[in-house]
């Protein structure tokens, strides 16, 4: 009778064991597969070579390299041609010496920077303006240094499609002027600008359809009054359109000016031609537009259409970039000194792949030691939990690649912290399981998981707050750390509940 009972017990244990063996094996195999993908990749033949199909890590400036732009105060000169009255002649630079003498013009060569502008104050001020421009352009990571004796400024920015534009925006002086077209009298300048920003609007007319990009210049209180005077003095009486002035800048300028002129011609034919005074808007001495105003503008805002209305996203983005480039040079004042771009080159990081690999090996060795300790201390549960931790780390490493997390040095430390948190969680969980087993509780693993989750997350909740707060910071180093921690903690919370918990439950059944 007793023999029969023992036999039955053995058979039932064997059945249970075979019942849990297949799910356990499946989970372990999935973990092995995930680990292989995360650490070795998936290689497929592409044009006689093997290509890894797993997305590579997106590295930040400190690990990859940066564009280094060296700016020095310009020692260059500017040649201007003036007429008998002393007014600057447009396109004077295209005239030959003979033509200049013939027309009675005079040629003047002046330095771009007066000797008095080479001062420490101006260098500091230029550096501050450049920093503001970088901030306005949304550059998420940069280093800017000033060598005060020489005024040389070195800027390190991440390499991407916009890097060249950013470099140009930094050296643009940003001298803004609205001048009388005929007398070249300066009517408004940088001091009148409060803010310049890019705006979007939809237009749906017979001639244009789609999204329009505007550059809106808001003037200061004094600027507003000046602009009101300008618009009342330089009013185009022949047209009756909306109060805001529309014109074009950038690449499409000529094309749209032509269109505008055509419109004016159409209007004037019905209301006779009338000579209108015009103003010219200049940035860094270059004419951006010439216009007159349809009516007095009292809002203190000037809107300039950049390009034409379009439905094409790429075109809209291009116009927005043009507008942004102008806006950035108008905001935060003009550079007190002209700078030349001396060097503009991509320099790779001094942190080499070998150094990163070495750090990874050190972390791997520490993890391996910890896992061995788990295996020795907790036997079967320790082995399964160790396998599961490897799976959690692999999943996390895959996730940060596909979640487009940019990895900086801070991000690498974040990875190490996440690995540490995983190990700490498993250690706590295994200890709880052992404690529950000793107390001969029902549902040992389930209770241990609940208790571990509650106590562990109560302790690390401030880390979760830090992770979430840093995710919203645009500075790459901070966002990298925040994003890594966020995905790491999320993986930890979900993975261990679904995988480690089930694996340990199957093992204790």
């Amino acid at each position: 009778m007793k023999n029969n009972e023992t036999k039955q017990n053995k058979t039932s244990k064997k059945n249970k064991s075979s019942f849990t063996f297949i799910p356990k094996l499946t989970i372990v195999l999935v973990i092995i597969l995930m680990t292989m993908i995360a650490f070795f990749g998936i290689y497929v033949p592409v044009q006689n070579r093997m290509e890894d199909k797993v997305k590579s890590y997106d590295l930040a400036m400190d690990l990859k390299g940066a564009r280094v732009i060296q700016l020095t105060p310009s020692k260059g000169t500017k040649t201007t041609v003036k007429d008998q009255e002393g007014k600057e002649v447009e396109d004077g630079s295209n005239l030959t010496d003979e033509e200049i003498t013939e027309k009675g013009y005079t040629k003047e060569t002046l330095p771009l920077n007066e000797e008095s502008t080479f001062s420490a104050d101006n260098y500091q001020s230029a550096k501050k303006i450049m920093e503001k421009r970088l901030h306005y352009l949304g550059v998420s990571s940069y280093i800017i240094n000033l060598d005060e004796p020489s005024g040389q400024i070195t800027v390190e920015i991440p390499e991407n499609d916009l890097t060249d534009d950013i470099g140009n925006d930094l050296v643009t002086v940003g001298k803004f002027e609205i001048v009388d077209k005929d007398t070249q009298e300066v009517l408004m300048d940088n001091s009148d600008i409060q803010e310049a920003k890019v705006m979007y609007g939809s237009s749906n007319t017979a001639t244009s359809n789609g999204t329009s990009v505007y550059l809106e210049i808001s003037f200061t209180r004094d600027g507003k009054k000046k602009f009101e005077n300008v618009t009342s003095t330089y009013t185009n009486t022949t047209t009756n359109t909306t109060g805001t002035t529309e014109n074009t800048t950038g690449e499409e300028q000529n094309e749209t000016n032509e269109t505008e002129n055509n419109n004016s011609t159409e209007n004037t034919t019905t209301e006779n031609t009338e000579t209108t005074k015009q103003v010219e808007m200049k940035i860094d001495g270059q004419s951006i537009m010439t216009t007159s105003f349809d009516q007095v503008v009292k809002t203190g805002k000037m809107q300039l259409t950049v390009g034409t209305a379009s439905t094409d996203q790429v075109t809209i983005q291009k116009y927005a970039q043009n507008a942004q480039n102008i806006a950035v040079t108008l905001n935060d004042g003009k550079l007190p000194i002209h700078y030349d771009m001396n060097k503009n080159e991509y320099i790779q990081s001094d942190i080499t792949t070998n150094q990163i690999e070495l750090a990874a090996i050190v972390v791997a060795v520490i993890v391996a030691i910890m896992l061995i300790i788990f295996m020795v201390r907790f036997h079967k549960n320790g082995i399964l939990a160790s396998i599961s931790v490897i799976g959690a780390i692999s999943l996390f490493l895959l996730l940060i690649r596909y979640a487009n997390v940019t990895l900086s040095l801070e991000g690498l430390f974040g990875i190490a912290i996440v690995i540490g948190l995983n190990l700490a969680f498993i250690d706590q969980l295994l200890k709880k399981i052992r404690q529950n087993e000793q107390e001969k509780e029902e549902k040992v693993v389930s209770h241990a998981i609940t208790e571990t989750y509650l106590s562990f997350f109560a302790i690390i909740l401030p880390i979760c707050i830090v992770a979430i707060a840093f995710c919203f910071i645009s500075w790459t180093a901070m966002s990298s750390f925040g994003m890594v921690m966020f995905w790491g903690i999320l993986t930890l919370a979900i993975y261990h509940f679904l995988v480690t918990g089930n694996l340990l439950k199957l093992s204790t059944k």
């Binding site: 400190d62 390299g65 060296q70 280093i143 800017i144 240094n145 000033l146 060598d147 005060e148 020489s150 040389q152 070195t154 060097k343 080159e345 991509y346 320099i347 790779q348 990081s349 001094d350 942190i351 080499t352 040095l409 801070e410 690498l412 430390f413 974040g414 912290i417 106590s455 109560a458 302790i459 690390i460 909740l461 401030p462 880390i463 707050i465 830090v466 707060a469 840093f470 910071i473 500075w475 180093a477 901070m478 750390f481």
Partner: protein
């Protein structure tokens, strides 16, 4: 006994901070070469190369002085060598050795010594102040709510004290051990910040548990 241990620990930490402050006043912080006033030269090697080969050359010329080597441009056919100071003789020495090793014909007059300005510590730290401030304020609010039974004001004061003390100890150790302020500084600050926060919550959780047990006991 435990209180005595805590007191001794606190005294040791305060001594480290005092020594750190003294070191900062006397010698200041040490800075990583990347953030120091330095000199840089760029040499075109005409093909791919190993940084180790260049390292052996710079070791011969600069000895034990720190040198930063970086590959230039995407084709990786030029090297940038940054050192605290590069004299004309050192430049010539590097060029001679490079020409010998890489079979190039680089001329000294084609290589300029570029002055690299230092990065101000405040410029380095500026981008991090706001994120840390925001995170700390939110965490203090959370702590004050979660551990209100331990007196919110006391919890806030203790958390702030622990976080500040931890950072002060870190910077003092860096100043005393002459660990340069550089790219590893912010990651280290982050790690210490998180550890100090974990320390705080751990401490408050234990105190709360103790309080609850006492209430249940009564």
């Amino acid at each position: 006994m435990k209180q005595n241990k805590n007191k001794i620990g606190l005294i040791v930490l305060l001594l480290i901070i005092v020594a750190g402050i003294a070191m900062i006043v006397i010698k200041g912080f040490a800075f990583d070469l990347k953030y120091q006033d330095a000199k840089r030269i760029e040499i075109a090697l005409g093909g791919t190369f190993s940084l180790e080969d260049v390292k052996s050359i710079t070791n011969e010329v600069f000895g034990k002085d720190p040198v930063m080597l970086q590959k230039v441009e995407v084709f990786e056919d030029a090297v940038s060598i940054t050192a605290k100071d590069i004299t004309d003789e050192q430049k010539q020495g590097i060029i001679d050795r490079v020409n010998e090793k890489f079979k190039t014909e680089v001329k000294a007059e084609d290589v300029d010594i570029i002055t690299v300005a230092h990065t101000r510590a405040r410029d380095l730290l500026k981008p991090y102040i706001f994120p840390f401030a925001v995170a700390t304020v939110v965490i203090l609010a959370y702590m004050a709510i979660r551990y209100h039974s331990l007196s919110s004001a006391k919890v806030i004061a203790q958390t702030l004290a622990i976080v500040i003390l931890a950072q002060a100890v870190l910077f003092s150790v860096m100043a005393i051990a002459r660990i340069p302020i550089g790219r590893l500084t912010i990651p280290l600050v982050l790690v210490v910040y998180l550890l100090s926060l974990i320390g705080c919550t751990n401490r408050f959780e234990k105190m709360r548990k103790k309080d609850l047990e006492e209430i249940e006991g009564k």
